[in-house]
Every structure is written in structure tokens, then in C-alpha cells.
């Protein structure tokens, strides 16, 4: 059985050993995840065409959902993720990533500029030039988070 391991580096080797001894196969692309509380991922597995990529979360500017597809933007490229936005919100470090609408999560360090609107909205321009809206629902959460 394939399992994805999401634990701290200190515990990784020991858990890896125990799970493989029990017959589990550790695979970053597995749907089943074993995670440790308050440990956040440093890499995401994204798919572009037939290829799988290991994405450093530091390079991810934002993640958007389009219908059933979840797209991560990194280095000017688009990668399809298998996790739902709700799950990504949990596994990404909340100090670095913030949910700004029902369909988008942005990396705070990749926000280039913020354009406030009168109607309780922000329009974010990311470092890769793409635009992301902060909707009314997340307006005050975003404001509080950034302290603006």
C-alpha cells in the first residue's frame, strides 16, 4: 500500500523504517497521507502533462481552483495538484500562505502590490504578474493577517 509521509525531519527516518517494515510503500504521489500535527509541507507534487514535478513551496506564487482542477503557479509555469484547496490550506504553512477567496491561496512573499477597492476587495498582483482577487469574505482576514 502506497502512503505519503508528512512528518518532521527528525521523525521521518524512524517512521519510514517502521512503515516499510510493515509493508507500506512510501510515495510522495500517494493519495493516502500520514501527517504530523503542525508540520507543513516543503514540497508539493504537481503534474504538468504526463510529468510529475516536486515543487518547492517557496517558489509557489499562488494556487487556484478551476472547477475540479487545482492549479499551482510556480516559476511562471502551471502545475496540476491532486489536493483540494481546503487540504492545501491545512498543509501549507499559514505564516506563508493565506486563503484569499473560495478559489485561491496566495504566498504572502510573492505579493508584489495590492490595489484596494472601495467595495471591500483587494486586487493582488503577484510577482509573476498574475492578478488575484481578495473577495469580501476574506477581506478582513487578509487585512488582519497583513496588518494593513
Amino acid at each position: 500500500m502506497k502512503i505519503r509521509l508528512m512528518v518532521s525531519e527528525e521523525k521521518y527516518a524512524e517512521i519510514y523504517k517502521q512503515l516499510t517494515a510493515k509493508g507500506f510503500e512510501i510515495d510522495d504521489g500517494a493519495d493516502l497521507i500520514l501527517s504530523e500535527k503542525n508540520v507543513y509541507v516543503k514540497y508539493l507534487i504537481g503534474r504538468r502533462g504526463e510529468e510529475m514535478f516536486r515543487l518547492d513551496v517557496k517558489n509557489v506564487t499562488h494556487i487556484e481552483s478551476f472547477a475540479h482542477d487545482i492549479i499551482a503557479y510556480s516559476g511562471g509555469e502551471e502545475y496540476k495538484l491532486s489536493e483540494r484547496l481546503r487540504r492545501l490550506e491545512e498543509i501549507l504553512d499559514p505564516k506563508d500562505f493565506i486563503r484569499v477567496s473560495n478559489s485561491a491561496i496566495v504566498a504572502v512573499s510573492h505579493i508584489k502590490s495590492i490595489r484596494p477597492a472601495f467595495t471591500q476587495k483587494f486586487l493582488l498582483t503577484m510577482t509573476d504578474g498574475s492578478k488575484v482577487d481578495v473577495t469580501r469574505t476574506y477581506y478582513y482576514i487578509f487585512k488582519e493577517f497583513l496588518g494593513i
Partner: protein
């Protein structure tokens, strides 16, 4: 009219001021948050959102505008200017020259200058060569007959003179003028029930050869009337009602 214009201006200002200030605030807010973002100075005290700024500004400006409107209404409304000493609102004010043919079949029929009129108390006043006989209505006829009758007479003319008058009602903060012409020794009825103020009644006598000049439209104004007139007299009367006796 002034009050209405004032209110409209204040309401427009109450809308415009918050609108303009919120646009300025949006520009300021945008600069500030982007500066914080660029400097990495995040996590500070959040600034007021533009909508909150607009709401607060609107409430403050509306409150101020309301106070201004209320003050404007009280300050400029005629009914609030002092006591009831002006002709506030619509009040009938009329002054009319009554040549002889007007007097037929009336209580004034057969009137001759200086004669008594039933229902009126007669008074006399002289200004230069002009004698004013004036008649104040008695209480029982108040509201039935004209309040005041004036009969100016000037006997120095050999020929039949042309007579013009200018009257000015001056009470409270309003002023109303009237003008016209009639014959020498004609009666003037002043009907102004409820008016409390002064009446200034000027009468001008012109020789017949001045008649064309006087009748030419727009030729003579109040200032020149007095200079051009052969003879002129002024009659002032206080038309305020006496305070009721205890």
C-alpha cells in the same frame, strides 16, 4: 427660495465631501499598504478600510449638514425673523388710486378732499405744499372696508396737474413697492389687513407739459421722479396694530 437653494447646496456637499475624501483616502491607503508590503513591515495596526472611512465621514458630514440645514431654515425662513413684524408668506397688500368714477355706488361716493368718511377716523398732515388727509378705519369696520384711505391735495396749480405716487411698505425684512397715478385730490385705498410695518407714501405733481416725459416707459425712476416733480410730498404712517389692552 434661498432656503431651498441652501438646503440643496448643503445636501450636495454632504454627498460630494465624503465622495471626494474617500477617493483621496483610497490613494493614500493604497500607497501606505504597498509601502508596508515593500518594506516587509507587515503585522502592524490595520488601517481603516475605505468603506469604513466613507461610512464614518458620511455620518459626520451628514450630521454637520443636518445642523447647517436646521440653522439655515431657522435663519432664513421669513416666519422666524423676529416677531410678527413683517409680511411673512403671502399676504394681500394693495394700494389703489380711486378716481371719482370709482367711488360711485360705494361708501365713499361724493367724497370731497378733507370730508369725513363714515367708519373712519380722519387725520391731517402737511408736507410742504401737499396736505394729506388720511383716514384710519374704526375697529368695527376692520376687515370690511380698506384699512387706510389717503387723500393728498395740492392747491397751488392753476392747471390740472398730473399726479403720480410711489408707496413703499417696509416691515420686517421684506419690502414691497407700488406705483401709479391719479388726479389731484383723489382717494387712495390702502388694503393690507394683517400688515405690521411702515408705509411711506410719496406723491408727485407734474405740470401738464411734463406729462409726456413722465409717461415715456422707463424714463423716470424713483430718484429722478423727485427731482423732476414740480411739487412732491411724503407721508409716513406706522401701520402696526396697537397691543391689545389688558
Amino acid at each position: 427660495m434661498v432656503v431651498a437653494s441652501g438646503i440643496i447646496i448643503v445636501i450636495l456637499m454632504a454627498i460630494l465631501v465624503p465622495a471626494v475624501t474617500v477617493v483621496i483616502y483610497l490613494v493614500f491607503y493604497r500607497r501606505k499598504i504597498n509601502k508596508r508590503l515593500a518594506e516587509g513591515n507587515l503585522g502592524g495596526k490595520p488601517m481603516m478600510s475605505p468603506i469604513a472611512f466613507f461610512t464614518r465621514t458620511f455620518i459626520c458630514v451628514t450630521a454637520v449638514a443636518f445642523v447647517i440645514i436646521v440653522n439655515l431654515i431657522f435663519a432664513l425662513s421669513p416666519n422666524t425673523k423676529g416677531r410678527n413684524d413683517g409680511f411673512a408668506g403671502t399676504r394681500t397688500l394693495a394700494i389703489k388710486a380711486l378716481p371719482d368714477f370709482y367711488l360711485e355706488d360705494s361708501p365713499f361716493e361724493g367724497y370731497t378732499p378733507g370730508a369725513d368718511i363714515k367708519g373712519y377716523d380722519k387725520y391731517e398732515m402737511t408736507d410742504g405744499l401737499v396736505t394729506f388727509y388720511y383716514y384710519k378705519i374704526r375697529g368695527n369696520m376692520q376687515g370690511v372696508l380698506p384699512r387706510l384711505m389717503i387723500c393728498p391735495v395740492c392747491d397751488t396749480f392753476d392747471e390740472y396737474p398730473m399726479v403720480s405716487f410711489r408707496a413703499k411698505f417696509d416691515g420686517g425684512f421684506n419690502e414691497l413697492g407700488a406705483s401709479g397715478s391719479s388726479d389731484n385730490g383723489a382717494l387712495y385705498a390702502v388694503d393690507c389687513d394683517g400688515y405690521e410695518g411702515d408705509l411711506i407714501f410719496n406723491v408727485y405733481y407734474f405740470t401738464p407739459n411734463q406729462e409726456d416725459m413722465v409717461n415715456a416707459p422707463g424714463q423716470l425712476y424713483d430718484e429722478t421722479f423727485q427731482d423732476k416733480a414740480e411739487i412732491f410730498g411724503t407721508f409716513n404712517i406706522d401701520l402696526r396694530y396697537p397691543e391689545p389692552e389688558e
